[in-house]
């Protein structure tokens, strides 16, 4: 049981998938705050292509939960206007791969509205978007564009790796007054995935972090969690890669300390630095492409803050610098074998 869970020890919990946990977060916030609205393509009557908003329109009505035209720029642009009015919009972009038409509204508008108006207007919006591969989605349903957001000043970028964090982080994001990009690793929607795609999905009901309080709680932003304690090396990961790294540690027998970043930017540097100074070795892992990926920033931060403590070069395991292919998905995906080999290199250096 982690720290936040202990704080919530008094609350009634239920096994939830990540989809159910996200839905529960929106349900809780729609109930608590009359300024919360949820909208996007297919999210209204149908409840979203991944079912994250199922039943919410029926419960809260069509003016709180509704369908939007197929226009990501329009969805985010309207959300910016709603935020300026005083609402807390929670728009959904159906796949992270589709956010590009909304880039101007995210980068030039939502992220900078507080700054350019010296706080007169703000965009307290949380943009949910499923990301990542492993579902045979091809190059337009598999991307992990987090680095395109972490580079933008004024945005918060968050990615949960389990139902408990997903609910607590989504509530914290909706309550936060800054614009938040909330990336949901869709391969984790129904269960933790360790990269062994040949195995059947293990549902979240079999995992401790699938046990989720029914009511209101938050997981703080800018706070990483130590998913697995270890002494031989520090692994910086987030989303699906947390479980791939856990499998790599198990299969190599290397005692890795796996840090689940949860908030990518702004991030919890203290937890990272403390761990690297302890283990003296570091491996950075993400599913997104390699060059100028978020891992490059993580490596730079570790170098800047821990260089004299390091006993080995920092290793980086990522997706290849290619579009996410369809048939060759598992060649692209950085599975436990590739991650484990990097662990080996880091401890043997």
């Amino acid at each position: 049981m982690n720290m936040e869970q202990q704080e919530q020890a008094g609350m009634k919990t239920t096994p939830m998938s990540m989809i159910q946990a996200l839905r529960s977060a929106m349900d809780v916030m729609l109930e608590r705050d009359p300024n919360v609205v949820v909208f996007g393509q297919d999210v209204g009557y149908f409840g979203g292509v991944f079912r994250c908003t199922e039943g919410l329109q029926k419960k809260y009505g069509t003016s709180r939960v509704f369908d939007a035209p197929i226009s990501e720029g329009g969805i985010v642009g309207a959300a910016v206007g709603m935020g300026a009015y005083g609402l807390r919009p929670v728009p959904e972009i159906q796949f992270a791969d589709y956010f590009y038409p909304a880039s101007d509204q995210i980068v030039s508008e939502a992220a900078r509205l507080r700054y350019r108006s010296a706080g007169e207007f703000t965009a307290p919006i949380t943009i949910r978007m499923p990301c990542g591969g492993g579902i045979y989605g091809g190059q337009t349903h598999s991307q992990s564009p987090e680095a395109l957001f972490t580079q933008v000043c004024g945005l918060r970028t968050v990615m949960p790796s389990n139902p408990y964090d997903a609910k607590g982080l989504l509530i914290a994001s909706i309550e936060n007054d800054d614009p938040v990009i909330f990336l949901e690793p869709k391969r984790l929607y129904n269960g933790p995935f360790d990269g062994h795609h040949e195995n059947p999905v293990v549902p979240w009901s079999k995992h401790a972090l699938g046990e989720v309080p029914e009511g209101y709680y938050t997981v703080p932003l800018e706070s990483a969690s130590v998913y697995r304690s270890g002494n031989q090396l520090t692994v910086l990961a987030y989303g699906t890669m947390v479980y791939v790294c856990e499998a790599a540690a198990r299969e190599t027998g290397i005692d890795a300390e796996i840090i689940d970043l949860r908030s990518l930017w702004p991030l919890d540097l203290d937890t990272i630095v403390a761990s690297v100074k302890k283990t003296r070795r570091c491996v950075v892992v993400h599913e997104a492409t390699r060059t100028c990926g978020f891992g490059a920033e993580l490596m730079a931060l570790v170098q800047e803050n821990c260089f004299y403590h390091l006993e080995a070069p920092i290793e980086r395991v990522t997706g290849w610098d290619t579009p996410y292919p369809h048939a060759q998905e598992w060649t692209y995906f950085p599975g436990p074998a590739r991650v484990g080999a990097a662990f080996q290199r880091a401890v043997e250096a």
């Binding site: 609205v37 003016s63 709180r64 939007a68 035209p69 226009s71 720029g73 329009g74 642009g77 309207a78 959300a79 910016v80 206007g81 709603m82 300026a84 009015y85 005083g86 609402l87 919009p89 038409p101 101007d104 509204q105 030039s108 508008e109 509205l113 507080r114 700054y115 350019r116 108006s117 010296a118 706080g119 007169e120 207007f121 703000t122 000043c153 004024g154 918060r156 936060n176 007054d177 800054d178 800018e222 702004p266 540097l269």
Partner: protein, 410 residues
């Protein structure tokens, strides 16, 4: 077998370039008073004639004629005249200050003063405009203190935007004036979102979206029309067609052989094309659109036909791309002269009173400039301190920005 000529690309051109005279027949004007006024609940399909004609109230003799002539007190019109004149004199003063390098940049609204000045009269406290950079008349209509505006223009120590924004990119929430982005068209869909929020909350406020002819080519414009129609948002969608987007003639934005008002009809939005240099027509059309929005009848699109009499900005030289004396020949004239003539004809105004008002405003504006300059100008280096550069990126400054602030050593 039919033979065809080789295909050729059509690139629209204005009727005249420097050294020649523009043929303004492309504007397709209607005589004052000739265009009908439909009921508020008109069906969009029944406004297609209005999107291709031109609503005008003031005729060549400065008389208010036809169904759109509003019942309006002369005192309101006098207020409007004052707003227009104040805007024009303010622009002229700030242009001069820019040449003296007291500000880095300026954008005047010469020739377009009627649109914001009259439109503001149709809006109520709490309504929100999402303007472009050429709607300073909205601020003048709301009597925003000039010192505050000039401090923004001079990026000085009293700049309410802390030196972060280019001059004229104001943000004045209490005056219903949304922060100007500088990226074009983005505010158009935001205005629709704001209006949707007002409807979601069963509020009574409406929003007013602003865009130029050039930026209607952006997807945000079309998206805004779709969203406004779909959700019947209480918004007025204003397209200021001043004929020029920097050096680009409005035909390059898609105005050739059609109108910008016609875009609204295609989206199911009742749409008007209005003489933007006719204060009374702007007033009447704005009232009509605002009443529709407040009555849950949804959006109205209005194309305001006007002419950008000055350069795009202080960085532009229009004599390079259009006839230098174009504005003199623009058939819709000068909005200030037209309203002044109307008021004189009504017997409530005179040339001498006009001159007196002009001198009063010049004195008021010079005094405001002097006061603003006492807080510094970009030239004398009295700018907001470096610390403030790191504020408002996030609501609470995160550790990485605190560290960078420390490195600046401010």
């Amino acid at each position: 077998m039919t033979t065809y000529e080789p295909l050729r690309l059509h690139v629209p051109e204005p009727s005249a370039r420097p050294g020649f005279e523009t043929n303004f027949s492309y504007l397709h004007l209607s005589p004052a008073g000739a265009v009908r006024k439909p009921p508020l609940n008109v069906q969009p399909a029944q406004t297609s004639d209005l999107a291709f004609s031109l609503i005008r109230v003031l005729d060549d003799d400065a008389k208010a004629v036809g169904p759109w002539a509003p019942a309006v007190e002369p005192s309101v019109l006098l207020r409007g005249l004052r707003t227009m004149l104040k805007t024009r004199i303010f622009d002229a003063r700030m242009l001069m200050a820019q040449r003296q390098k007291k500000l880095s940049f300026y954008m005047q609204s010469l020739g377009e003063e009627a649109i914001g000045s009259a439109h503001a009269l149709a809006l109520a406290d709490g309504d929100m405009c999402f303007p472009t950079y050429r709607q300073q008349s909205l601020l003048m209509a709301r009597n925003v203190p000039l010192v505050e505006l000039i401090c923004q223009l001079m990026s000085n120590e009293r700049d309410p935007l802390k030196g972060r924004q280019l001059p004229v990119m104001y943000s004045v929430r209490r005056a219903g004036f949304f922060s100007i982005s500088g990226n074009l068209a983005t505010q158009f869909i935001q205005a629709v979102g704001w209006a949707m929020a007002s409807a979601i909350k069963n509020d009574s406020k409406i929003s007013s979206a602003w865009i130029g002819d050039g930026a209607t080519a952006e997807s945000d414009f079309h998206t805004a029309l779709t969203f406004a129609h779909v959700y019947r948002a209480p918004v007025i969608l204003n397209v200021v067609n001043n004929q020029w987007a920097i050096s680009t003639f409005q035909a390059i934005a898609g105005g050739e052989g059609t109108t910008f008002a016609a875009r609204g009809n295609g989206c199911g939005i009742p749409s008007l094309r209005v003489d933007g240099n006719d204060f009374l027509a702007v007033y009447a059309a704005s009232q009509w659109a605002a009443a529709r929005a407040r009555s849950n009848m949804g959006p109205t699109l209005i194309e305001w036909v006007t002419y950008r009499a000055g350069p795009h900005s202080t960085s532009d030289d229009p004599s390079k791309y259009r006839p230098a004396d174009d504005w003199k020949h623009f058939p819709l004239g000068d909005p200030i002269v037209r309203l002044k003539s109307h008021l004189i004809q009504l017997g409530v105004w005179s040339e001498s009173e006009h001159e007196k008002l002009q001198s009063e405003l010049e004195i008021e504006i010079s005094a405001a400039q002097r006061e603003a300059e006492s807080f510094g100008t970009l030239l004398d280096g009295h700018i907001p301190n470096a610390d403030s550069m790191f504020e408002d990126v996030y609501k609470v400054m995160p550790p990485h920005l605190r560290a960078q602030l420390k490195q600046v050593g401010a």
